[in-house]
């Protein structure tokens, strides 16, 4: 097993992604929750269940996910939960917007400030060369935004 080959694997599945897929830090459910939603990818059957609790100002003070899916999806869910901790729905949408640009155009297309704001999410930078896998990383975010919305509608 050559070093070069391992590095090639690692360029798309960075250490952080593999670790969070194996041992998520934000798995579980928030109880009681102010918002909950499921995301499902009909093509592969992967599902993400997101629950959250918000403070009176609308900030998500707790976000948890239960994911049955591939490593990309599981890690994306976990890093999402970490990143949007304390965010309002609008702020979460802004992060998601940046994340989508990262997946769409790749790291090199983004300015330094955006890259800084993306923080841990930069781990998915190489996904932009794997178009069919982008939806795996996006699935948790659709569930999150639906969870925010379900909380507001309730």
């Amino acid at each position: 097993m050559s070093e070069a080959a391992l590095q090639a694997d690692a360029s798309i599945y960075q250490q952080l992604v593999v670790e969070r897929a194996r041992r998520p830090l934000h798995a579980g459910t928030v109880e009681p929750a102010d918002g909950a939603a499921d995301g499902t990818n009909p093509l592969c059957g992967d599902t993400v269940h997101v629950t959250l609790r918000r403070d009176p100002g609308g900030r998500a003070v707790a976000v948890r996910h239960r994911t049955r899916g591939c490593a990309i999806c599981a890690a994306a869910a976990d890093l999402m939960a970490e990143t949007v901790q304390g965010a309002t729905r609008n702020e979460a949408e802004a992060v998601f917007g940046r994340f989508q640009r990262l997946l769409q155009d790749g790291e090199t297309a983004l300015d330094a400030e955006t890259r800084r704001q993306l923080g841990l999410l930069n781990a998915f930078g190489e996904l932009h060369g794997y178009r069919s896998r982008r939806k795996c990383a996006i699935l948790p975010w659709s569930a999150l935004l639906a969870a925010f919305k379900s909380g507001e509608d309730a």
Binding site: M1, L6, I12, A71
Partner: protein, 412 residues
């Protein structure tokens, strides 16, 4: 580890016939193990199409002029090649469609219109969606019943259960795959034909995979309908084939209406052209039919028996090598099988495996393989699948196995 038996023919010289195989993927040599989804094309097929469009092209059948006559000759000549490939009784039994899917839908609409609402169609648990959905749509349209023959743990058809499902004599058509695109299982076609006919039913075989991997003799099998698709047989996209016994084609109403499928047209009433033209409405995929002819010449020159032996050797080798990968489970262990191997790896999702293989230049498919009910049967949501063609080598299978080993240790 190089378990290729000495009787396995060496076809590695054929690789030079396929220009795409010298491409690199993400900087790695291209290891194409996704032929079951669609095969790559040899230069002779590409050249036949190019030559047609550069030197000898016009619409077929309708024209009296030189280019049209020559193009019609080339187009009609392919019917003979297909008839020979399948050992059909005559060239008139060959209908060109757009794909296997197009061919099965033709039968579902046309022969389906001849079934009575109290009759049933019998399929199996291991069908491709192309051989499930058209019959569901027929059921919903006409009220016929859809019956499903089970598949055992090994991935073989349960013939006893099938016989029981045929027993009441209400099944009008059995429609079964000749080779599973997921499990690799080759079904006992002649035996199924006997069972079907004994119960008064006809037999359609979905040969989308089988026709690529082994000799097919529709007469020896005793089938009534046979379909396959050009792009998996090293031919062009946009072309499929329906074979049916002449008397059936005669009895069936047309499927699509338009030019070339009519005898005469008035607003009150139209009459149909002779078979097979009755089923070929409009301008057909002319260049694609000619390309399919070149593909058939190509595989016939190699010999379908040789191709079968080559893939049997590869499959044996692959089962041995993959079986040694920790946590890897092959789905389907039929005793008669072709070069398609689906597997799962404990703790690693099929999509991650496919992506990491791709990162290393290796193309496999991951997902449900258009066979969701079969996934459910085996209690899984998806598999990774490696499938072989005439250009596949044991070296490529070794690269696959080694890379899987590494991926596993990396992911799990």
């Amino acid at each position: 580890m190089n378990a290729l038996s000495s009787t396995t023919p060496d076809l590695s010289h054929l690789r030079a016939d396929f220009p795409i195989l010298s491409e690199t993927i993400r900087g790695k040599p291209f290891v194409f193990l996704d032929s079951a989804a669609s095969a790559q094309k040899p230069a002779v097929v590409i050249d036949a199409m190019t030559h047609t469009m550069r030197h000898q092209y016009a619409n077929v059948h309708r024209g009296l002029h030189w280019m049209s006559e020559r193009t019609s000759d080339a187009y009609e000549g392919v019917r003979d090649k297909v008839a020979a490939l399948l050992n059909a009784a005559s060239r008139e039994e060959i209908v060109f469609t757009g794909s296997s899917t197009g061919a099965i839908n033709l039968v579902a609409y046309s022969y389906g219109a001849l079934l009575r609402p109290d009759q049933a169609v019998l399929i199996s648990e291991m069908e491709h969606h192309a051989n499930i959905v058209p019959w569901q749509m027929l059921r919903d349209r006409r009220g016929i019943e859809l019956r499903v023959a089970p598949v055992d743990e090994r991935g073989e058809l349960d013939l006893g259960a099938m016989e029981a499902l045929l027993a009441d004599g209400r099944v009008g058509l059995v429609s079964i795959t000749h080779m599973s695109n997921v499990l690799g299982t080759v079904t006992p076609a002649a035996r199924i034909a006997e069972l079907a006919h004994a119960a008064g039913a006809l037999l359609l075989l979905d040969g989308s995979q089988a026709a690529v991997h082994r000799p097919v003799d529709v007469k020896a099998i005793g089938a009534d309908f046979y379909v396959f698709t050009g792009h998996k047989l090293y031919g062009p996209t946009g072309i499929g084939v329906l074979w049916a016994r002449h008397a059936l084609l005669e009895a069936m109403p047309p499927f699509m209406g338009g030019g070339d499928m009519i005898g005469s047209v008035s607003f009150e009433r139209s009459t149909w052209a002779e078979v097979p033209h009755k089923f070929e409405a409009g301008t057909p995929p002319i260049v694609e039919v000619i390309g399919l002819g070149a593909a058939i010449d190509y595989v016939q020159a190699i010999g379908m028996g040789t191709i079968q032996a080559h893939e049997a050797g590869l499959t044996e080798h692959a089962l041995a090598r993959l079986g040694a990968v920790e946590g890897l489970r092959v789905i389907g262990e039929a005793r008669t099988r072709g070069g398609v191997i689906s597997f799962t790896v404990d703790g690693a999702h099929a999509h991650d495996i496919a992506t990491l293989l791709d990162r290393n230049g290796i193309a496999v498919r991951a997902g449900t393989h258009c066979a969701e009910p079969l996934m459910r049967r085996f209690g899984i949501t998806s598999t990774a699948r490696a499938s072989f063609g005439i250009y596949t080598t044991t070296q490529e299978i070794d690269v696959l196995a080694d890379t899987l080993d590494r991926i596993r240790s990396f992911l799990v």
